[in-house]
Symmetry: C2
DNA sequence: GTCTATATCGGGATAGAC
DNA sequence: GTCTATCCCGATATAGAC
């Protein structure tokens, strides 16, 4: 594999493990067994690495958030959440130091806000679809709050989980996160689907 | 006012505004129009200042979380949330760089986990009280999820709000945060109280 | 208690040889 | 493309005078 690519991958790993602000370029170089000079040959500074990583994240998540205009089932919603959570988990360093990173990098901040907006829209689209099928029952206001809550929970689940359970090399409990989001939706579901969800949840968590 | 006290207060202000990792001891001294040497006379390092601030936060929030063993009304719940949100807002720097700070300071991490645990318990106590009065209807599982969601939302509302609306000196929209938490509770309320809540929400947000 | 001056250290980044 | 050596700078922290 090309060195340039290895740099990105190892940086991602270290950022995720130790937090982006705590990882130095020297550490990255060390981990790769290359010299710092070499690293700077491929990327002119640390920000460039961060940008590269963010762009990859952006590409992935924006792609996922392109929700098709079709009827969506509860299972689809579940799967959708799963993909989103996986993507977030892959780039968890962003979420660990979110405010900090967004404060220091104007460009990333603007883009991240757009992603957040799109997340809310996607959530809206899905919930609206469920509502139009009468699977979900809610007023417009309730739907708005619900979608915001979904996005908030999805965004911060990783941090929340790390704080409560994390010690060192912590694997984020995605299943529980999805469960948590689904529990936001549950109260608005038609009786039948609420039961289905309960069953799905139990299976999934065990 | 004594210099030592001024240092804590100005530090809190700067931490809240720029994020703790981005504030240097020199900046703090400058803001106070004292020399860095003087600052180090009062606190032997930056960590000491952080500890002092965290202890104050801990004292305040732990006090608030001592929920009395009496019947609790929806209005009480609202007020309770209000006090919690105000306290969090006062020490928002902690929440802005939560993972980072907890990663770097073992002691704070341990204490923060306890606070989080106590928050969930307090939330549980309140919701249980509402349930025992039949104001709130939920199964045990639903109650557990609900309380976790409440704490998660309360914990991260400030960050979420900053990211979406913040630009520089952003005042956190506490009212909207409380509304958001209440919207988690709403679906579980008895019809009558759900209407009350709706009315309260509208008044409060306008 | 407060100041000025300074030591120390670590991280980001560059120059130039190979 | 890669290395070694080095520079630069900003942040923490200390020493010692006032």
């Amino acid at each position: 594999m090309k060195t340039k690519e290895r740099i990105v991958l190892v940086s991602l790993e270290l950022f995720n493990r130790y937090g982006e602000p705590n990882v130095t370029t020297l550490q990255i170089a060390d981990e790769l067994d290359i010299s710092p000079g070499n690293l700077y040959y491929h990327y002119k500074n640390k920000t460039e690495i961060l940008n590269e990583l963010f762009n990859r994240y952006e590409g992935q998540i924006m792609h996922l958030l392109d929700v098709p205009d079709i009827e969506i089932s509860l299972e689809d919603h579940w799967l959708f959440l799963h993909l989103i959570f996986e993507c977030i988990s892959e780039y968890q360093f962003l979420y660990k130091d979110l405010v900090n990173i967004l404060q220091r990098y104007e460009k990333i901040r603007t883009k991240f806000k757009k992603i957040l907006q799109k997340k809310i829209e996607a959530s809206h689209k899905i919930c609206s679809s469920l509502r139009s099928q009468s699977i979900l029952i809610a007023t417009d206001d309730e739907l708005d709050s619900l979608c915001q809550n979904i996005v908030l929970t999805a965004t911060y689940w990783s941090s929340f989980d790390i704080i409560r359970n994390g010690s060192g090399e912590h694997q984020i409990d995605l299943a529980r996160g999805i469960h948590q989001v689904m529990s936001l939706v549950a109260p608005f579901l038609r009786e039948e689907e609420r039961q289905d969800l309960l069953t799905m949840s139990r299976e999934y968590l065990s």
